[in-house]
Subunit: 287 residues, 2 copies
Protein backbone atom coordinates (compact mmCIF):
# COMPACT_ATOMS: atom_id res chain seq x y z
CA UNK A 1 0.00 0.00 0.00
CA UNK A 2 1.28 3.46 -0.84
CA UNK A 3 2.58 5.51 2.06
CA UNK A 4 0.50 8.68 2.41
CA UNK A 5 2.05 9.78 5.69
CA UNK A 6 4.63 12.18 4.36
CA UNK A 7 2.79 14.07 1.63
CA UNK A 8 -0.60 14.51 0.03
CA UNK A 9 0.36 13.88 -3.56
CA UNK A 10 -2.61 11.49 -3.93
CA UNK A 11 -5.22 13.56 -2.20
CA UNK A 12 -8.05 14.82 -4.38
CA UNK A 13 -10.75 17.11 -3.09
CA UNK A 14 -14.31 16.56 -4.13
CA UNK A 15 -15.51 20.12 -4.33
CA UNK A 16 -18.82 19.36 -2.58
CA UNK A 17 -16.76 19.13 0.61
CA UNK A 18 -16.48 22.93 0.72
CA UNK A 19 -19.41 23.87 -1.51
CA UNK A 20 -20.97 26.20 1.05
CA UNK A 21 -17.76 28.15 1.68
CA UNK A 22 -17.10 29.44 -1.83
CA UNK A 23 -17.53 28.98 -5.56
CA UNK A 24 -15.37 26.76 -7.74
CA UNK A 25 -12.92 29.58 -8.41
CA UNK A 26 -12.40 30.13 -4.69
CA UNK A 27 -12.02 26.39 -4.12
CA UNK A 28 -9.41 26.07 -6.85
CA UNK A 29 -7.46 29.01 -5.41
CA UNK A 30 -7.56 27.41 -1.96
CA UNK A 31 -6.37 24.09 -3.41
CA UNK A 32 -3.36 25.93 -4.84
CA UNK A 33 -2.60 27.44 -1.40
CA UNK A 34 -2.69 23.98 0.18
CA UNK A 35 -0.80 22.09 -2.50
CA UNK A 36 -3.83 20.00 -3.41
CA UNK A 37 -3.32 18.88 -6.96
CA UNK A 38 -6.57 17.23 -7.91
CA UNK A 39 -10.28 17.89 -7.57
CA UNK A 40 -13.57 16.31 -8.53
CA UNK A 41 -15.97 19.15 -9.30
CA UNK A 42 -19.77 19.00 -9.35
CA UNK A 43 -21.74 20.05 -12.39
CA UNK A 44 -23.72 22.71 -10.58
CA UNK A 45 -20.49 24.29 -9.30
CA UNK A 46 -19.10 24.32 -12.83
CA UNK A 47 -22.34 25.78 -14.18
CA UNK A 48 -22.30 28.60 -11.64
CA UNK A 49 -19.00 30.01 -12.89
CA UNK A 50 -19.47 28.77 -16.48
CA UNK A 51 -17.78 25.82 -18.17
CA UNK A 52 -15.18 27.85 -20.05
CA UNK A 53 -14.07 29.68 -16.95
CA UNK A 54 -13.93 26.39 -15.02
CA UNK A 55 -11.80 24.78 -17.74
CA UNK A 56 -9.43 27.75 -17.66
CA UNK A 57 -9.22 27.81 -13.86
CA UNK A 58 -8.40 24.09 -13.71
CA UNK A 59 -5.78 24.44 -16.41
CA UNK A 60 -4.20 27.59 -15.00
CA UNK A 61 -3.93 25.96 -11.57
CA UNK A 62 -2.32 22.86 -13.07
CA UNK A 63 -4.99 20.72 -11.42
CA UNK A 64 -5.86 17.19 -12.38
CA UNK A 65 -9.36 15.79 -12.01
CA UNK A 66 -10.12 12.51 -10.25
CA UNK A 67 -13.64 12.39 -11.67
CA UNK A 68 -16.62 14.52 -12.60
CA UNK A 69 -19.74 14.54 -10.44
CA UNK A 70 -22.11 13.47 -11.70
CA UNK A 71 -24.13 11.77 -14.35
CA UNK A 72 -27.07 9.50 -13.72
CA UNK A 73 -30.50 9.99 -12.18
CA UNK A 74 -31.54 7.57 -14.88
CA UNK A 75 -34.95 6.63 -13.54
CA UNK A 76 -37.91 8.58 -14.85
CA UNK A 77 -41.19 8.06 -16.56
CA UNK A 78 -41.33 7.79 -20.33
CA UNK A 79 -41.95 11.51 -20.87
CA UNK A 80 -38.58 12.38 -19.39
CA UNK A 81 -36.32 9.80 -21.11
CA UNK A 82 -34.99 12.23 -23.69
CA UNK A 83 -34.27 14.81 -21.04
CA UNK A 84 -32.33 12.18 -19.06
CA UNK A 85 -30.30 11.13 -22.08
CA UNK A 86 -29.45 14.65 -23.18
CA UNK A 87 -28.56 15.66 -19.65
CA UNK A 88 -26.13 12.76 -19.35
CA UNK A 89 -24.56 13.43 -22.72
CA UNK A 90 -23.91 16.99 -21.63
CA UNK A 91 -22.23 15.64 -18.49
CA UNK A 92 -19.87 13.66 -20.71
CA UNK A 93 -19.13 16.69 -22.87
CA UNK A 94 -18.35 18.80 -19.82
CA UNK A 95 -16.14 16.06 -18.37
CA UNK A 96 -14.16 15.96 -21.62
CA UNK A 97 -13.74 19.71 -21.66
CA UNK A 98 -12.47 19.62 -18.09
CA UNK A 99 -10.14 16.69 -18.72
CA UNK A 100 -11.84 14.36 -16.25
CA UNK A 101 -10.78 10.69 -16.24
CA UNK A 102 -14.38 9.51 -15.74
CA UNK A 103 -17.95 10.59 -15.10
CA UNK A 104 -19.27 9.34 -11.77
CA UNK A 105 -22.78 7.90 -12.10
CA UNK A 106 -25.37 8.11 -9.35
CA UNK A 107 -28.13 5.89 -10.65
CA UNK A 108 -31.22 7.54 -9.26
CA UNK A 109 -33.74 5.85 -7.00
CA UNK A 110 -37.45 5.58 -7.65
CA UNK A 111 -38.46 7.81 -10.58
CA UNK A 112 -40.45 10.32 -8.53
CA UNK A 113 -37.27 11.25 -6.63
CA UNK A 114 -34.75 10.83 -9.41
CA UNK A 115 -36.61 13.04 -11.87
CA UNK A 116 -39.28 14.95 -9.93
CA UNK A 117 -42.62 15.04 -11.65
CA UNK A 118 -42.29 11.44 -12.81
CA UNK A 119 -45.16 9.15 -11.85
CA UNK A 120 -44.67 7.60 -8.41
CA UNK A 121 -43.57 3.97 -8.24
CA UNK A 122 -42.60 1.47 -5.55
CA UNK A 123 -41.06 -0.92 -8.05
CA UNK A 124 -37.34 -0.88 -7.29
CA UNK A 125 -36.67 -3.88 -9.55
CA UNK A 126 -38.11 -1.94 -12.46
CA UNK A 127 -36.02 1.09 -11.51
CA UNK A 128 -32.92 -1.09 -11.56
CA UNK A 129 -33.76 -2.47 -15.00
CA UNK A 130 -34.23 1.07 -16.25
CA UNK A 131 -30.84 2.08 -14.86
CA UNK A 132 -29.17 -0.74 -16.76
CA UNK A 133 -30.86 0.29 -20.00
CA UNK A 134 -29.94 3.93 -19.53
CA UNK A 135 -26.30 3.14 -18.73
CA UNK A 136 -26.15 0.98 -21.86
CA UNK A 137 -27.40 3.93 -23.86
CA UNK A 138 -25.05 6.42 -22.21
CA UNK A 139 -22.14 4.04 -22.67
CA UNK A 140 -22.49 4.16 -26.45
CA UNK A 141 -22.00 7.91 -26.43
CA UNK A 142 -19.25 7.70 -23.80
CA UNK A 143 -17.31 5.08 -25.74
CA UNK A 144 -17.54 7.13 -28.90
CA UNK A 145 -15.80 10.06 -27.22
CA UNK A 146 -13.54 7.98 -24.96
CA UNK A 147 -14.97 8.97 -21.58
CA UNK A 148 -15.11 6.16 -18.96
CA UNK A 149 -18.20 5.85 -16.78
CA UNK A 150 -17.88 4.97 -13.09
CA UNK A 151 -21.01 3.55 -11.45
CA UNK A 152 -21.10 4.54 -7.78
CA UNK A 153 -23.04 2.16 -5.56
CA UNK A 154 -24.78 4.23 -2.89
CA UNK A 155 -25.58 3.20 0.67
CA UNK A 156 -28.91 1.34 0.92
CA UNK A 157 -30.22 4.27 2.96
CA UNK A 158 -30.44 6.13 -0.38
CA UNK A 159 -32.13 3.36 -2.34
CA UNK A 160 -35.44 5.21 -2.61
CA UNK A 161 -34.37 8.72 -3.38
CA UNK A 162 -30.85 8.77 -4.82
CA UNK A 163 -29.60 5.46 -6.17
CA UNK A 164 -31.06 2.00 -6.52
CA UNK A 165 -27.56 0.63 -7.16
CA UNK A 166 -26.64 -0.20 -3.59
CA UNK A 167 -23.84 -2.73 -3.53
CA UNK A 168 -20.50 -3.17 -5.24
CA UNK A 169 -21.71 -6.53 -6.52
CA UNK A 170 -24.73 -4.97 -8.14
CA UNK A 171 -22.61 -2.30 -9.87
CA UNK A 172 -20.12 -4.91 -11.07
CA UNK A 173 -22.92 -7.11 -12.38
CA UNK A 174 -23.97 -4.19 -14.56
CA UNK A 175 -20.37 -3.65 -15.66
CA UNK A 176 -20.04 -7.31 -16.62
CA UNK A 177 -23.28 -7.25 -18.57
CA UNK A 178 -22.52 -4.06 -20.51
CA UNK A 179 -18.75 -4.31 -20.87
CA UNK A 180 -17.84 -7.99 -20.63
CA UNK A 181 -14.53 -7.37 -22.37
CA UNK A 182 -13.38 -5.02 -19.59
CA UNK A 183 -12.43 -2.38 -22.08
CA UNK A 184 -11.96 0.29 -19.43
CA UNK A 185 -15.07 2.11 -20.61
CA UNK A 186 -17.14 1.11 -17.58
CA UNK A 187 -16.23 0.59 -13.94
CA UNK A 188 -17.08 1.63 -10.41
CA UNK A 189 -16.45 4.55 -8.09
CA UNK A 190 -16.16 3.17 -4.56
CA UNK A 191 -16.87 5.45 -1.62
CA UNK A 192 -16.11 3.98 1.79
CA UNK A 193 -19.22 5.66 3.20
CA UNK A 194 -21.48 3.64 0.95
CA UNK A 195 -19.75 0.28 1.05
CA UNK A 196 -17.93 -0.16 4.36
CA UNK A 197 -20.76 -2.23 5.91
CA UNK A 198 -20.98 -4.76 3.05
CA UNK A 199 -20.08 -8.33 4.07
CA UNK A 200 -19.13 -9.00 0.46
CA UNK A 201 -16.97 -5.93 0.01
CA UNK A 202 -13.53 -7.55 -0.03
CA UNK A 203 -14.34 -10.31 -2.54
CA UNK A 204 -16.12 -7.79 -4.74
CA UNK A 205 -13.11 -5.46 -4.78
CA UNK A 206 -11.02 -8.44 -5.87
CA UNK A 207 -13.61 -9.26 -8.51
CA UNK A 208 -13.53 -5.66 -9.78
CA UNK A 209 -9.81 -5.72 -10.40
CA UNK A 210 -7.79 -2.78 -11.62
CA UNK A 211 -9.79 -2.42 -14.85
CA UNK A 212 -13.00 -1.62 -13.02
CA UNK A 213 -11.66 0.49 -10.13
CA UNK A 214 -12.02 3.97 -11.57
CA UNK A 215 -12.36 6.10 -8.44
CA UNK A 216 -11.99 5.88 -4.66
CA UNK A 217 -13.77 8.25 -2.27
CA UNK A 218 -13.23 8.66 1.45
CA UNK A 219 -14.96 10.22 4.44
CA UNK A 220 -16.25 8.46 7.57
CA UNK A 221 -19.45 7.05 9.09
CA UNK A 222 -20.35 8.82 12.33
CA UNK A 223 -22.21 7.25 15.25
CA UNK A 224 -24.75 8.60 15.69
CA UNK A 225 -25.45 9.86 12.18
CA UNK A 226 -27.69 12.86 12.78
CA UNK A 227 -28.69 13.47 9.17
CA UNK A 228 -28.93 10.72 6.63
CA UNK A 229 -27.59 12.89 3.82
CA UNK A 230 -25.43 15.62 5.30
CA UNK A 231 -23.71 14.22 8.36
CA UNK A 232 -20.73 12.43 6.90
CA UNK A 233 -17.61 12.46 9.00
CA UNK A 234 -14.03 13.56 8.50
CA UNK A 235 -11.76 10.54 8.08
CA UNK A 236 -10.87 9.25 11.52
CA UNK A 237 -13.93 10.63 13.29
CA UNK A 238 -16.09 7.57 12.61
CA UNK A 239 -16.06 3.80 12.48
CA UNK A 240 -14.73 2.99 9.00
CA UNK A 241 -11.43 1.15 8.72
CA UNK A 242 -10.45 3.22 5.69
CA UNK A 243 -6.92 1.88 5.36
CA UNK A 244 -8.16 -1.68 4.97
CA UNK A 245 -10.39 -0.65 2.08
CA UNK A 246 -7.65 1.36 0.37
CA UNK A 247 -5.29 -1.54 0.89
CA UNK A 248 -7.74 -3.90 -0.84
CA UNK A 249 -8.05 -1.55 -3.83
CA UNK A 250 -4.31 -1.13 -4.11
CA UNK A 251 -3.80 -4.88 -3.92
CA UNK A 252 -5.72 -4.93 -7.22
CA UNK A 253 -3.40 -2.35 -8.71
CA UNK A 254 -5.42 0.78 -8.06
CA UNK A 255 -2.99 3.70 -8.00
CA UNK A 256 -5.24 6.73 -8.36
CA UNK A 257 -6.34 9.52 -6.10
CA UNK A 258 -7.95 9.15 -2.73
CA UNK A 259 -10.77 11.63 -3.12
CA UNK A 260 -12.24 13.29 -0.06
CA UNK A 261 -15.98 13.81 -0.33
CA UNK A 262 -17.70 14.99 2.83
CA UNK A 263 -21.32 16.17 2.81
CA UNK A 264 -21.60 17.67 6.26
CA UNK A 265 -23.60 20.46 7.77
CA UNK A 266 -20.87 20.70 10.42
CA UNK A 267 -17.90 20.91 8.09
CA UNK A 268 -19.69 23.31 5.73
CA UNK A 269 -19.77 25.78 8.60
CA UNK A 270 -15.99 25.87 9.02
CA UNK A 271 -13.63 28.11 7.06
CA UNK A 272 -12.43 26.56 3.79
CA UNK A 273 -8.76 26.75 4.73
CA UNK A 274 -9.39 24.99 8.04
CA UNK A 275 -11.28 22.19 6.30
CA UNK A 276 -8.51 21.71 3.75
CA UNK A 277 -5.83 21.75 6.44
CA UNK A 278 -7.62 19.02 8.40
CA UNK A 279 -8.35 17.01 5.24
CA UNK A 280 -4.63 16.95 4.51
CA UNK A 281 -3.75 15.98 8.08
CA UNK A 282 -6.28 13.14 8.13
CA UNK A 283 -5.30 12.00 4.65
CA UNK A 284 -1.80 11.45 5.99
CA UNK A 285 -2.86 9.66 9.17
CA UNK A 286 -6.25 8.00 8.66
CA UNK A 287 -6.42 7.15 4.92
CA UNK B 1 -51.33 -14.93 -0.82
CA UNK B 2 -53.73 -14.71 2.10
CA UNK B 3 -56.44 -12.07 1.86
CA UNK B 4 -56.04 -9.59 4.72
CA UNK B 5 -58.65 -7.14 3.44
CA UNK B 6 -61.62 -8.30 5.47
CA UNK B 7 -60.16 -8.94 8.92
CA UNK B 8 -57.00 -8.59 10.97
CA UNK B 9 -56.71 -12.15 12.18
CA UNK B 10 -53.01 -12.20 11.21
CA UNK B 11 -52.03 -8.82 12.55
CA UNK B 12 -49.58 -8.86 15.44
CA UNK B 13 -48.50 -5.72 17.21
CA UNK B 14 -44.91 -5.28 18.21
CA UNK B 15 -45.33 -3.44 21.47
CA UNK B 16 -42.53 -0.96 20.71
CA UNK B 17 -45.01 0.65 18.29
CA UNK B 18 -46.89 2.20 21.22
CA UNK B 19 -44.18 2.06 23.88
CA UNK B 20 -44.44 5.75 24.74
CA UNK B 21 -48.23 5.70 25.22
CA UNK B 22 -48.52 3.13 28.00
CA UNK B 23 -47.02 0.13 29.74
CA UNK B 24 -47.45 -3.45 28.63
CA UNK B 25 -50.63 -3.88 30.66
CA UNK B 26 -52.21 -0.87 28.96
CA UNK B 27 -51.08 -2.12 25.56
CA UNK B 28 -52.58 -5.56 26.15
CA UNK B 29 -55.87 -4.00 27.25
CA UNK B 30 -55.93 -1.86 24.12
CA UNK B 31 -55.21 -4.91 21.94
CA UNK B 32 -58.28 -6.57 23.46
CA UNK B 33 -60.41 -3.51 22.62
CA UNK B 34 -59.25 -3.63 19.01
CA UNK B 35 -59.44 -7.38 18.50
CA UNK B 36 -55.69 -7.69 18.05
CA UNK B 37 -54.81 -11.23 18.97
CA UNK B 38 -51.04 -11.31 18.94
CA UNK B 39 -48.17 -9.20 20.18
CA UNK B 40 -44.39 -9.21 20.23
CA UNK B 41 -43.32 -7.63 23.51
CA UNK B 42 -39.92 -6.13 24.34
CA UNK B 43 -37.92 -7.30 27.30
CA UNK B 44 -37.75 -3.90 28.95
CA UNK B 45 -41.53 -3.57 28.74
CA UNK B 46 -41.93 -6.99 30.35
CA UNK B 47 -39.40 -6.11 33.04
CA UNK B 48 -41.24 -2.89 33.90
CA UNK B 49 -44.42 -4.72 34.92
CA UNK B 50 -42.62 -7.91 35.99
CA UNK B 51 -42.43 -11.22 34.14
CA UNK B 52 -45.13 -12.99 36.15
CA UNK B 53 -47.60 -10.21 35.67
CA UNK B 54 -46.80 -10.10 31.95
CA UNK B 55 -47.33 -13.84 31.63
CA UNK B 56 -50.68 -13.55 33.38
CA UNK B 57 -51.79 -10.56 31.33
CA UNK B 58 -50.96 -12.33 28.06
CA UNK B 59 -52.77 -15.47 29.18
CA UNK B 60 -55.81 -13.68 30.54
CA UNK B 61 -56.19 -11.73 27.32
CA UNK B 62 -55.90 -14.91 25.24
CA UNK B 63 -53.06 -13.35 23.27
CA UNK B 64 -50.56 -15.23 21.17
CA UNK B 65 -47.01 -14.03 20.69
CA UNK B 66 -45.38 -13.67 17.28
CA UNK B 67 -41.91 -13.37 18.80
CA UNK B 68 -40.01 -11.95 21.74
CA UNK B 69 -37.79 -8.89 21.33
CA UNK B 70 -34.98 -9.34 21.77
CA UNK B 71 -31.84 -11.33 22.30
CA UNK B 72 -28.47 -10.51 20.85
CA UNK B 73 -26.06 -7.62 21.23
CA UNK B 74 -23.46 -10.36 21.00
CA UNK B 75 -20.41 -8.22 20.34
CA UNK B 76 -18.34 -7.20 23.31
CA UNK B 77 -14.84 -7.41 24.62
CA UNK B 78 -13.70 -10.49 26.49
CA UNK B 79 -14.60 -9.13 29.92
CA UNK B 80 -18.27 -9.00 28.98
CA UNK B 81 -18.72 -12.41 27.31
CA UNK B 82 -20.29 -14.06 30.34
CA UNK B 83 -22.67 -11.15 30.81
CA UNK B 84 -23.71 -11.47 27.16
CA UNK B 85 -24.32 -15.19 27.47
CA UNK B 86 -26.29 -14.96 30.69
CA UNK B 87 -28.34 -12.08 29.38
CA UNK B 88 -29.31 -14.07 26.29
CA UNK B 89 -30.16 -17.17 28.29
CA UNK B 90 -32.51 -15.09 30.41
CA UNK B 91 -34.15 -13.84 27.20
CA UNK B 92 -34.83 -17.46 26.24
CA UNK B 93 -36.25 -18.25 29.68
CA UNK B 94 -38.56 -15.24 29.52
CA UNK B 95 -39.67 -16.15 26.00
CA UNK B 96 -40.59 -19.65 27.20
CA UNK B 97 -42.54 -18.30 30.14
CA UNK B 98 -44.47 -16.01 27.82
CA UNK B 99 -45.11 -18.72 25.24
CA UNK B 100 -43.22 -16.98 22.45
CA UNK B 101 -42.60 -18.95 19.23
CA UNK B 102 -39.07 -17.52 18.88
CA UNK B 103 -36.57 -15.05 20.27
CA UNK B 104 -35.68 -12.33 17.77
CA UNK B 105 -31.92 -11.70 17.63
CA UNK B 106 -30.41 -8.29 16.94
CA UNK B 107 -26.75 -9.11 16.52
CA UNK B 108 -25.08 -5.99 17.84
CA UNK B 109 -22.71 -3.80 15.87
CA UNK B 110 -19.20 -2.86 16.89
CA UNK B 111 -18.57 -3.87 20.52
CA UNK B 112 -18.38 -0.33 21.91
CA UNK B 113 -22.01 0.26 20.87
CA UNK B 114 -23.36 -3.24 21.43
CA UNK B 115 -22.08 -3.50 24.99
CA UNK B 116 -21.02 -0.02 26.10
CA UNK B 117 -17.74 0.06 27.92
CA UNK B 118 -16.22 -2.52 25.58
CA UNK B 119 -12.98 -1.50 23.90
CA UNK B 120 -13.58 0.43 20.68
CA UNK B 121 -13.04 -1.42 17.40
CA UNK B 122 -13.46 -0.70 13.69
CA UNK B 123 -13.18 -4.37 12.74
CA UNK B 124 -16.62 -5.30 11.47
CA UNK B 125 -15.39 -8.66 10.12
CA UNK B 126 -14.27 -9.59 13.61
CA UNK B 127 -17.60 -8.44 15.03
CA UNK B 128 -19.37 -10.71 12.57
CA UNK B 129 -17.23 -13.69 13.52
CA UNK B 130 -18.02 -13.03 17.16
CA UNK B 131 -21.74 -12.92 16.40
CA UNK B 132 -21.54 -16.34 14.76
CA UNK B 133 -19.73 -17.80 17.76
CA UNK B 134 -22.19 -16.30 20.21
CA UNK B 135 -25.23 -17.52 18.26
CA UNK B 136 -23.69 -21.01 18.20
CA UNK B 137 -23.37 -20.85 21.97
CA UNK B 138 -26.87 -19.49 22.51
CA UNK B 139 -28.29 -22.07 20.14
CA UNK B 140 -27.14 -24.93 22.36
CA UNK B 141 -29.15 -23.56 25.24
CA UNK B 142 -32.10 -22.69 22.99
CA UNK B 143 -32.21 -26.17 21.47
CA UNK B 144 -32.15 -27.76 24.89
CA UNK B 145 -35.29 -25.91 25.91
CA UNK B 146 -36.93 -25.93 22.48
CA UNK B 147 -36.90 -22.20 21.77
CA UNK B 148 -36.23 -21.21 18.12
CA UNK B 149 -33.92 -18.27 17.42
CA UNK B 150 -34.71 -15.80 14.64
CA UNK B 151 -31.78 -13.75 13.36
CA UNK B 152 -33.00 -10.35 12.18
CA UNK B 153 -30.83 -8.73 9.53
CA UNK B 154 -30.85 -4.99 10.17
CA UNK B 155 -30.55 -2.22 7.59
CA UNK B 156 -26.93 -1.39 6.75
CA UNK B 157 -27.50 2.03 8.31
CA UNK B 158 -27.30 0.23 11.69
CA UNK B 159 -24.17 -1.78 10.92
CA UNK B 160 -22.00 0.17 13.36
CA UNK B 161 -24.26 0.56 16.35
CA UNK B 162 -27.00 -2.08 16.32
CA UNK B 163 -26.36 -5.07 14.10
CA UNK B 164 -23.53 -6.17 11.86
CA UNK B 165 -25.85 -8.73 10.26
CA UNK B 166 -27.16 -6.60 7.42
CA UNK B 167 -28.55 -8.80 4.68
CA UNK B 168 -30.85 -11.77 4.45
CA UNK B 169 -28.06 -13.68 2.74
CA UNK B 170 -25.71 -13.05 5.61
CA UNK B 171 -28.27 -14.23 8.19
CA UNK B 172 -29.04 -17.34 6.14
CA UNK B 173 -25.35 -18.11 5.75
CA UNK B 174 -25.16 -18.22 9.54
CA UNK B 175 -28.26 -20.41 9.70
CA UNK B 176 -26.75 -22.83 7.20
CA UNK B 177 -23.48 -23.00 9.09
CA UNK B 178 -25.03 -23.55 12.52
CA UNK B 179 -28.13 -25.54 11.61
CA UNK B 180 -27.42 -27.28 8.31
CA UNK B 181 -30.15 -29.82 8.94
CA UNK B 182 -32.82 -27.10 9.05
CA UNK B 183 -34.19 -28.42 12.30
CA UNK B 184 -36.36 -25.36 12.88
CA UNK B 185 -34.14 -24.24 15.75
CA UNK B 186 -32.64 -21.34 13.79
CA UNK B 187 -34.10 -19.02 11.18
CA UNK B 188 -34.65 -15.39 10.29
CA UNK B 189 -36.99 -12.56 11.23
CA UNK B 190 -37.51 -10.44 8.13
CA UNK B 191 -38.56 -6.81 8.54
CA UNK B 192 -39.41 -5.00 5.31
CA UNK B 193 -37.75 -1.85 6.65
CA UNK B 194 -34.38 -3.54 6.79
CA UNK B 195 -34.48 -5.60 3.62
CA UNK B 196 -36.67 -3.89 1.02
CA UNK B 197 -33.71 -2.31 -0.78
CA UNK B 198 -31.76 -5.57 -1.22
CA UNK B 199 -31.27 -6.60 -4.86
CA UNK B 200 -30.95 -10.21 -3.67
CA UNK B 201 -34.03 -10.20 -1.47
CA UNK B 202 -36.32 -12.36 -3.58
CA UNK B 203 -33.83 -15.19 -4.25
CA UNK B 204 -32.84 -15.15 -0.59
CA UNK B 205 -36.45 -15.50 0.58
CA UNK B 206 -36.73 -18.49 -1.73
CA UNK B 207 -33.50 -19.87 -0.32
CA UNK B 208 -34.79 -19.42 3.23
CA UNK B 209 -37.87 -21.52 2.63
CA UNK B 210 -40.57 -22.13 5.17
CA UNK B 211 -38.20 -23.73 7.71
CA UNK B 212 -36.19 -20.56 8.13
CA UNK B 213 -38.94 -17.94 7.92
CA UNK B 214 -39.78 -17.49 11.59
CA UNK B 215 -41.14 -13.94 11.68
CA UNK B 216 -42.28 -11.15 9.36
CA UNK B 217 -42.29 -7.48 10.40
CA UNK B 218 -43.84 -4.55 8.57
CA UNK B 219 -43.71 -0.75 8.62
CA UNK B 220 -42.59 1.58 5.82
CA UNK B 221 -39.56 3.56 4.63
CA UNK B 222 -40.31 7.28 4.49
CA UNK B 223 -38.73 9.76 2.10
CA UNK B 224 -37.19 11.75 3.58
CA UNK B 225 -36.28 9.76 6.66
CA UNK B 226 -35.73 12.45 9.28
CA UNK B 227 -34.24 10.22 11.95
CA UNK B 228 -32.25 7.13 11.19
CA UNK B 229 -33.67 5.21 14.14
CA UNK B 230 -37.08 6.62 15.01
CA UNK B 231 -38.72 7.78 11.81
CA UNK B 232 -40.22 4.59 10.44
CA UNK B 233 -43.45 4.97 8.57
CA UNK B 234 -46.93 3.50 8.87
CA UNK B 235 -47.51 0.94 6.12
CA UNK B 236 -48.57 2.78 2.99
CA UNK B 237 -46.91 6.07 3.86
CA UNK B 238 -43.56 5.17 2.32
CA UNK B 239 -41.95 3.48 -0.65
CA UNK B 240 -41.93 -0.20 0.26
CA UNK B 241 -43.96 -2.60 -1.87
CA UNK B 242 -44.97 -4.58 1.22
CA UNK B 243 -47.40 -6.90 -0.53
CA UNK B 244 -44.72 -8.16 -2.88
CA UNK B 245 -42.50 -9.12 0.06
CA UNK B 246 -45.34 -10.83 1.93
CA UNK B 247 -46.30 -12.63 -1.25
CA UNK B 248 -42.75 -13.95 -1.60
CA UNK B 249 -42.75 -15.25 1.97
CA UNK B 250 -46.12 -16.87 1.58
CA UNK B 251 -45.02 -18.51 -1.67
CA UNK B 252 -42.53 -20.37 0.55
CA UNK B 253 -45.29 -21.48 2.87
CA UNK B 254 -45.02 -18.79 5.53
CA UNK B 255 -48.40 -18.55 7.24
CA UNK B 256 -47.63 -16.63 10.43
CA UNK B 257 -48.39 -13.17 11.70
CA UNK B 258 -47.66 -9.94 9.96
CA UNK B 259 -46.14 -8.03 12.85
CA UNK B 260 -46.32 -4.26 12.88
CA UNK B 261 -43.20 -2.66 14.35
CA UNK B 262 -42.95 1.10 13.98
CA UNK B 263 -40.29 3.10 15.81
CA UNK B 264 -41.51 6.63 15.21
CA UNK B 265 -41.31 9.86 17.13
CA UNK B 266 -44.43 10.94 15.20
CA UNK B 267 -46.56 7.89 15.93
CA UNK B 268 -45.45 7.75 19.56
CA UNK B 269 -47.11 11.14 20.01
CA UNK B 270 -50.55 9.90 18.93
CA UNK B 271 -53.11 8.24 21.25
CA UNK B 272 -52.70 4.48 21.48
CA UNK B 273 -56.21 3.74 20.21
CA UNK B 274 -55.71 5.94 17.17
CA UNK B 275 -52.45 4.18 16.32
CA UNK B 276 -54.06 0.76 16.65
CA UNK B 277 -57.07 1.79 14.57
CA UNK B 278 -54.81 2.98 11.74
CA UNK B 279 -52.55 -0.09 12.04
CA UNK B 280 -55.60 -2.28 11.47
CA UNK B 281 -56.80 -0.19 8.54
CA UNK B 282 -53.40 -0.26 6.84
CA UNK B 283 -52.94 -3.94 7.59
CA UNK B 284 -56.09 -4.57 5.56
CA UNK B 285 -55.17 -2.31 2.64
CA UNK B 286 -51.38 -1.99 2.43
CA UNK B 287 -49.98 -5.26 3.79
Amino acid sequence: MRDFSSDHRWLSLNTATVRKQGDLTAIIEACARHGIRAIDPWRDQVATIGLERAVRAVRDAGLELSGYCRGGMFTSDAARRTEVRDDNRRAIDEARALGAPCVVLVAGGLPQYSRPGSAASKDIAQARAQVDDAIADMLEYARAVGMPLAIEPLHPAYAADRACVNTTKQALDTCDRLDPQRTGALGVALDVYHIWWDPELMPQIARAGKDRLLAFHVCDWLVPTKDILNDRGMMGDGVIDIKSVRSALEAQGFSGYSEIEIFSNDWWEKPMDEVMRICIERHRTMV
